[in-house]
């Protein structure tokens, strides 16, 4: 069998282009080889013919024509064999006729017939062998087409056939590999002992498993190997047919996949970000059942059907959560307490509906801020990002990343608190500057109360009590008492430490209340106050106390600036609606005084903290005013109008239509 395969190998190799695998033991190219054989056969035939014709020897020289046929058969071509055979037969007959004529000559005739018979038999055998060889060659060509490495080793383990894929993958040519011991050449590594594989092979005739082979370049490849025993016609084992599939890349890809899986698992387990894997397939079904193709319509439907959102919360299952998320919700393990989204989200959560809308719309990503419920029932403020899987990953793999923002909230609260403290300190400082006015404000009604009370007593204690006077005096006591408490209330409201509140504020009222606080101060400085506010201004959104603080500060400053200035002392406060292309609608409150104006070298630094032009000033007033204006989304600026004085402009945004609280 092995020899026949070797023959097939010859034949197959010959049919291949000359620059690839050459047949073993050949020093010629196939074309040269063929030509040489043909020439040799022709020369041999000529020699035999001459010898047969010219030699006086009586013998069966013509039998030697068998050699010509066999030489021609060496080319492996049917036509060569036939040409050689026909030529040999003709030459035999010609030599016989030339020597003996057409008559029968006894023994020579017999010898000629034997020769003819020998040539014919040799031809027939050669033709048969050629046919078998051609079949094998075709089979070998098929084996060469295979991407698998196929080789045959004989009973000693020596390689007798080595296909193209083997040459390409292992690096050794067929010539180099043939005759080598397969296990030595390839440094085969077996997962199990070699004996075990052989036992299976001998018991069943086949074996398959995974092996490791070496290449000529020194690399190692992993192959899936299939062995089959080869028998000859009598059933004797003549070799092993071995097919190897290179699975190195597949194995590497698999290993990479496993590694990647492990890496993501590590991330999932070790990250401080909470990760929740959720199954949204039930939600998908219910949303699809609504039949609302349009995303906007669906979002609208979800917004107006809280009961639907509530139900979908209950059918959206939690598949897996990571340790960080467990820690976040204060749970020991992935307990039965948290089976659906409904168990985790606070009941007032406003984000699930929009998330469903994003999901149904086919968004890949959705994020928001909400509160989740801990195992002990307390709330945790979080921001989250949802990644919806692509179609082929299925709705069961919705991943939600959750970050606890409690600390951030606390920091924000602390900042707000600090701002409130600072604003309070600033208000106290402002009131400090207003001490004279406040004393006056409060003491006036108190004075009136006491004096009225005393007067009433005196009217009452007269010999003839004047009850009418008593009545009007006590009436004034009551109204003056109320007036006093109003003033105290106003000052206290101004001084209260409150966190920032946002309300819709009427601009006219805002200015009016601030003006009340400084009225006396302005009167003392002999400043005339004129307020011009149109009636139909839209409200601004902000903190009443903080904005009043700004106005009080600006008014006190204006009063102080004008107190040391000769000439008219007029403070005009105007409010107007302006529209800015970039920033939208604005309210602009302008405070214009008739003081000396801001000196140019101070204009730049006027709003800097600790910048002051007053001998006892702290220099915080205007800095805080600007901060407050900016915190409200507005601006505070100053300019010196050409006709004298200074104008401070406080601009505040008007909320967009519909968002006004």
């Amino acid at each position: 069998m092995s020899s026949r395969l070797s023959a097939a190998q010859h034949s197959a190799s010959r049919s291949t282009p000359p620059d690839t695998a050459l047949p073993q033991r050949s020093f010629f190219s196939p074309a040269m080889n063929t030509t040489a054989l043909r020439i040799a056969a022709a020369l041999l035939a000529l020699c035999i013919f001459l010898f047969d014709t010219l030699s006086p020897l009586e013998g069966a020289v013509a039998v030697l024509y068998v050699l010509v046929v066999l030489l021609a058969a060496g080319t492996g071509r049917r036509s060569d064999i036939l040409v050689a055979a026909v030529t040999s037969l003709i030459l035999t007959v010609v030599a016989y006729v030339d020597t003996h004529g057409l008559s029968l000559a006894g023994a020579p005739t017999l010898r000629a017939l034997v020769s003819l018979a020998a040539v014919t038999i040799a031809t027939l055998l050669s033709l048969k062998n050629q046919a078998a060889t051609a079949t094998l060659a075709a089979q070998a060509r098929l084996l060469n087409l295979s991407h698998d490495m196929i080789f045959v080793r004989d009973t000693f383990g020596q390689i007798t056939f080595w296909n193209r894929a083997s040459e390409e993958t292992y690096g050794w040519s067929a010539a180099e590999a043939t005759g080598r011991i397969a296990d030595e050449l390839l440094e085969t590594r077996y997962a199990l002992p070699r004996d075990a594989a052989d036992r299976v092979l001998h018991d069943t005739g086949r074996w398959d498993g995974t092996l490791e082979h070496r290449t000529k370049a020194g690399g190692r490849i992993t192959v899936e190997s299939r062995w089959a025993l080869q028998h000859d016609a009598r059933g004797r084992i003549v070799g092993v047919f071995e097919t190897n599939t290179d699975v190195t890349e597949r194995e590497a890809a698999h290993a990479a996949l496993v590694q990647s899986e492990r890496r993501y698992r590590r991330m999932f387990d070790a990250t401080r970000v909470g990760v929740v894997q959720e199954d949204w397939s039930a939600a998908r079904r219910e949303l699809a059942a609504l039949g609302l193709a349009d995303g906007e319509a669906l979002a609208g439907h979800l917004a107006t059907h809280p009961d639907l959102v509530a139900r979908l919360r209950k059918v959206t299952k939690i598949v897996d959560v990571n340790p960080a998320f467990l820690a976040m919700i204060g749970a020991e393990s992935n307990s039965h307490l948290h089976q659906t989204v409904d168990d985790v989200l606070s009941e007032s959560d406003p984000t699930f509906g929009p998330a469903l809308a994003a999901f149904a719309r086919g968004d890949g990503f959705h994020e928001g801020e909400t509160e989740i419920v801990r195992a002990d029932g307390s709330r945790v403020p979080v921001i989250f990002a949802i990644t919806f899987p692509t179609v082929d990953d299925g709705d069961g793999n919705v991943l939600v990343f959750v970050v606890d923002i409690t600390e951030r909230r606390q920091a924000q609260d602390a900042v707000l608190h600090a701002q409130a403290e600072l604003a309070h300190a600033a208000r106290v400082a402002t009131l400090g500057e207003l001490t004279a006015s406040i004393a006056h404000e409060v003491n006036q009604p108190l004075m009136a109360v006491v004096t009225n009370g005393e007067a009433a007593l005196r009217w009452l204690r007269r010999d003839k009590p004047d009850l009418q006077e008593v009545d009007s005096a006590i009436g004034r006591v009551v109204s003056e008492g109320r007036r006093a408490s109003e003033i105290v209330k106003r000052i206290r409201a101004f001084l209260t430490k409150t966190p920032t509140r946002s309300n819709a504020l009427d601009v006219a009222t805002l200015i009016e209340e601030a003006a009340q606080l400084v009225q006396r101060e302005l009167a003392r400085a002999e400043v005339e106050l004129r307020v011009e506010v149109p009636a139909d201004l839209p409200p601004v959104i902000g903190d009443r106390i903080q904005l009043q603080q700004v106005l009080v500060n600006l008014m006190v400053n204006a009063g102080q600036a004008m107190a040391e200035h000769d000439g008219r002392r007029l403070l005009t406060i105007t409010a107007d609606q302006a529209h800015c292309q970039v920033e939208g609608g604005r309210i602009e409150i302008a405070l214009r005084d008739t003081g000396p104006g801001i000196s140019p070298q101070h204009l730049e630094r006027l709003f800097d903290p600790f910048f002051t032009t007053k001998p006892e000033g702290m220099g915080m007033g205007l800095a805080i005013c600007r901060t407050t204006a900016e915190a409200h989304g507005g601006k505070l600026s100053v300019e010196n109008p050409p006709d004298g004085g200074a104008t401070f402009r406080l601009t505040l945004p008007i909320p967009h239509h519909g968002t006004a609280a």
Binding site: A436, A439, Q444, P445, M447, A448, V450, T451, R476, E526
Partner: protein, 125 residues
């Protein structure tokens, strides 16, 4: 016929002015009320009061300016000043110019009555 003393009250605060008027009337005097210093100065028909009680802090013209104007005009009658925000310089200036009293607001009605009586007695003497 027994002369009823006339007391002028100058204060921009309605509540204070009205209560003082009531008190003064209950004490048996006649009260005249003025909402500002210029208003008092402008009242030439009724003649000088027997005594004047005036606030210090007022818009347009304050108490000590009023005092200075009156002295400059040679109008001399007992004057009592009151203020809700007393400061030493103002007190000294007003008292040096010859005021009878400088009272802090809120002032005790008895104190007012006492100073009023003293001023009127002094004025008659």
């Amino acid at each position: 016929m027994h002369h009823i003393p006339t007391v002028a009250i100058v204060d921009d605060d309605d509540g204070v002015r009205n209560s003082l008027a009531s008190l003064i009337r209950s004490l048996g005097y006649e009260a005249r009320s003025y909402g500002s210093a210029p208003e008092f100065l402008a009242d030439c028909e009724t003649g000088d009061p027997d005594c004047m009680i005036s606030d210090i802090q007022m818009p347009e013209m304050n108490g000590d300016q009023l005092q200075a104007e009156l002295i400059a005009a040679g109008r001399r009658f007992p004057m009592i000043f009151m203020t809700a925000f007393p400061t030493a310089p103002v007190r000294e200036r007003v008292m040096a110019a010859g005021a009878c009293a400088f009272l802090d607001k809120p002032a005790e009605p008895d104190t007012i009555a006492h100073h009023l009586a003293a001023a009127l007695a002094h004025g008659h003497a």
